[in-house]
Symmetry: C2
Subunit: 363 residues, 2 copies
């Protein structure tokens, strides 16, 4: 990178190609491990790959961890970032600040040595991987040795003291979901959550329950009602009902509605990590209701044309990974709900990860 | 199609593959020209191909009208609908009702012989093309001989008496845009319209001007300020400023903001028909503002990750082609604004089309 290139708050000075692009739209970034005046350089410990992206990579690699590692290495080497060209998505990282650029020293709120989690997507984060150490095939976490760069507009959170790092990272990765649900849902409303037993879905259910209150109704949807997560949601009353249905199967979902959701939903939250669930989300929702698509597998045209095609006057919102205070809201959601907290620690905590069979050393 | 298959209000009985899909998600529909009990069969006169889809087909055909015709014929023959697999979008049709199924006779509001325009996407409409007669390479209108089927939940509008058919069709095709702008924009707000000089953009500007009022501010963006449409918007005060900028060039757009939009927009309407304009839309908008993506070229992940990547707390809405009363709102927008009406008649009216060079007979 030319030292004379003007530094940009959005990081365009790191774009290698095409000219004039910003980091997220760029094909390739310069991931050179230095902190320019308006950057923060971090030593990365682990990547939390976006669920849709990881699923695609695992499938493309035939489920073999070594092939997944090779795939990720090649991808990051090629693009200077983990930006999956198939899914368009990335993930986030956890690491330690190595250096803060001189322009940010006063206002970055972090100093060298602090442990942070990035809250911006890996699709725009200059990333260099020196080695991949371990992969958790169940959660999409990859432990690496390497470096990443945060820009002036980039978001990050100092890791909290009262939660294991792994758990905090799992929560921060989907921090937008509970924060948006908190804004959207009001007392007494009926809320449908698709993919309710996933990470973002569970946090969304907990927030929906809080906001909708006892007079409201929360209905979760997922492909398997026997999972620990689904059972937790039912047992602790985070959902009033859990419907076992593949959300891609619109006719199945429609068939269940008379029994579980005859009034349809005021707000539908889509947290599913497979494509093809837009229409079910729309049909679940009342006219003038809201469909909030948090899933990165959402197709814009399938949503837009799906609603038009069935003559449904609903407001469809693109899940914004950022909302003011979203990291605090997401972490607080976990603290406020001990059953969720226990589940997340068991599922995503370091101890669980260290002993679970799907964690595969690849270095 | 088996006569014993159960008729579905959403049209799933017309799906040939895959099993269990609904028409929009289906790879292939049965376009047999009969009206089942809950269907309306129409003789199609013309297709209005979605702008993103037509652009892709023209590019793939090297700009040759005969190749475009062959491309469309093959596509519709293959899928039983005009559902462009590259863009995911379709368009709409104009035609005459041939038969109304017995279950709809009382409530369809139309009878055999009525001239209507479909308000649902061609991506879910069973379509059979017997011959392509003419193509307007400038507007994406294709005159055909063929048939289409509307389902029980399908939307359509009887063509109005006071506007030429071609003009009504052009307006109805983008009817969602002015209807949504009418809902979203409030007095005194600042509104940015990207792709302001296109069909949906002009109607959006007119509605934004009406709603924002004299105390508000409407700024249009487009690649060429010398077009008739751009000049009309400026001359008649539909926009306070027209900014010449390619919306894909984020750094260019950002460079113009201090001069034309220092306060940023409360509401940004994206009506651009090329990919890659999500980030500019987001950066134009205030925190807690609204970005309304009407463009079918919008990438869901580019929008979601783009906002997160720049730490922008905006509400991003997927343009729903349907809103209650949208056809009436869109047509009324044209009636209420004589300069727009004149422009649309000149640009999309039958006389203009009959004499303009880009209309190419291909039969």
């Amino acid at each position: 990178m030319s030292l004379t290139r003007k530094l940009c708050s959005l990081g365009s000075h790191r774009v290698l190609e095409p000219a004039g692009a910003l980091p997220q739209g760029a094909r390739k970034l310069d991931a050179t491990p230095v902190a320019h005046a308006n950057e923060i350089l971090c030593d990365v410990e682990a990547l939390n790959i976006d669920s849709a992206s990881f699923r695609q990579i695992v499938e493309a690699s035939g489920g073999d961890p070594s092939a997944v590692a090779a795939h990720v290495l090649a991808l990051v080497e090629d693009r200077g970032k983990h930006h999956n060209p198939v899914t368009g998505s990335g993930g986030m990282f956890i690491g330690r600040v190595r250096a803060v650029g001189e322009q940010l020293a006063e206002r970055a709120g972090v100093k060298a040595g602090d442990r942070i989690a990035s809250l911006v997507s890996l699709t725009l984060t200059p990333l260099r991987i020196d080695a991949i150490e371990r992969i958790d095939m169940a959660t999409g976490r990859i432990w690496i040795r390497g470096t990443a760069v945060l820009f002036e507009t980039g978001l990050y959170a100092t890791l909290p003291d009262d939660l294991p790092d792994d758990v905090a990272l799992a929560v921060l990765d989907v921090a937008g979901a509970p924060a948006q649900v908190k804004r959207l849902v009001h007392a007494g409303q009926t809320v449908a959550v698709l993919g309710a037993d996933g990470k973002s879905g569970m946090l969304a259910c907990a927030q929906a329950r809080e906001r909708a209150g006892a007079a409201g109704r929360v209905v979760g949807f997922g492909p398997d009602r026997s999972t620990a997560a689904a059972q937790l949601l039912v047992e602790h009353g985070y959902v009033d009902a859990f419907v076992e249905c593949d959300a891609r199967d619109v006719l199945c979902v429609l068939g269940k509605l008379p029994e579980v959701l005859p009034e349809l939903a005021d707000v539908t939250i889509n947290c599913v990590n497979v494509p093809g669930t837009e229409l079910a989300s729309i049909l679940l929702t009342k006219d003038h209701g809201i469909v909030y698509f948090f899933s990165m597998s959402t197709s814009f045209t399938a949503a837009a044309l799906g609603a038009e095609g069935v003559g449904k006057d609903v407001t469809m919102i693109v899940g914004n990974g950022y909302a003011k205070g979203h990291a605090a809201t997401a972490l607080q959601t976990l603290r406020d709900h001990p059953p969720l907290r226990r589940y997340f620690i068991e599922r995503f905590g370091a101890a669980a990860i260290a002993t679970a069979p799907p964690v595969v050393p690849v270095s």
